[in-house]
Point group: none
Chain length 183, copies 2
């Protein structure tokens, strides 16, 4: 196997905001199966892989047609945030446990319903990231797109064309920042 099947499945699953257990339930397999596949500790039978993709849902053709290597890690789940100022009246949560090689830290933002950075994609020589507090924010980065909800986050190279939209009915509260770190 010369391509990373596990990482590919994991990426697809996370793009759809599904946990291993949720997906397993939809697919009619066990969560352990999905865990093992994502770690490349087994080579799934096609019937299993088909069931799993049906649970997403995604066709086998689309699955294998995905670009081989997502250019960088962009999306983060709940526990990939590091609590820094925890517990006080003010607390910061850092996007990404490891800042090595990163050029920024994260602060705040607020999106009214329907707010949009515009169809003309943004590009600038920087890096940026953020975390959604309340509401639904659609984040588009290059050829990747995802609607993020409370507790979810993003991080990417700003030179890749990008765009933000509040696609929900309520205001969207976000913490975000640009390089370089302000403190």
């Amino acid at each position: 196997m010369d391509f990373d099947l596990g990482a590919r499945l994991r990426a697809v699953r996370e793009m759809h905001a599904l946990s291993q257990r949720e997906l397993a339930k939809r697919a009619g397999v066990t969560n352990g199966t999905i865990s093992l596949i994502e770690q490349n500790r087994v080579s799934p039978s096609l019937s299993s892989l088909k069931k799993v993709l049906d649970g997403i849902p995604m066709s086998l053709a689309d699955f294998f047609a995905l670009p081989a290597t997502p250019r960088q890690k962009i999306f983060f789940g709940h526990h990939e945030l590091l609590e820094i100022g925890g517990g006080g009246a003010i607390s910061y949560r850092q996007v990404g446990r490891d800042l090595a090689g990163r050029a920024l830290q994260i602060l705040h933002e607020h999106y009214a319903p329907g707010a949009d950075t515009g169809k003309a994609m943004l590009r600038h020589d920087a890096e940026e990231g953020g975390v959604i507090i309340v509401g639904q924010l659609e984040v588009t980065v290059g050829d990747q797109r995802r609607v993020l909800g409370p507790g979810e986050a993003y991080y990417f190279d700003s030179r890749v064309p990008h765009r933000f939209r509040n696609v929900g009915p309520e205001p969207c509260e976000v913490v975000s920042a640009c390089t370089p770190p302000s403190f």
Copy 2:
């Protein structure tokens, strides 16, 4: 499984004029494995399927992107030709073992290097087929295209738009015909 994986693999294998054993050898699996897969008696692991496709060679993406149902059997491998006038000074080999439901038999043609039936695809109310003797002939039928070499063959409904091109540097010798059978 709602699609016929076995038939799909068999079609691909036969398109490339490979026997189960030949393909098995190239792929590093046993011929039995391929037989069982083609009969849908097992659901192959992805590692196996990958190995098999590497032996063709064909990517997983291409494999799953194939149309679900080839509209009709179009390409034939070596041993799907039936020897009719065998052994004499003249001998005919019939394309397709079984003429039932077929409207023709096959004769000759010759393509100079670069010869082309033209970008405007051919269509006519007939059936046609042929076999390549020398050289390389690119045959396009509907959304299917293949470069055929010596010993390989084609058969299709001429109402489907089609085109022939000699893509090789040498003359291409072909046996071909149109409906109805001449003898």
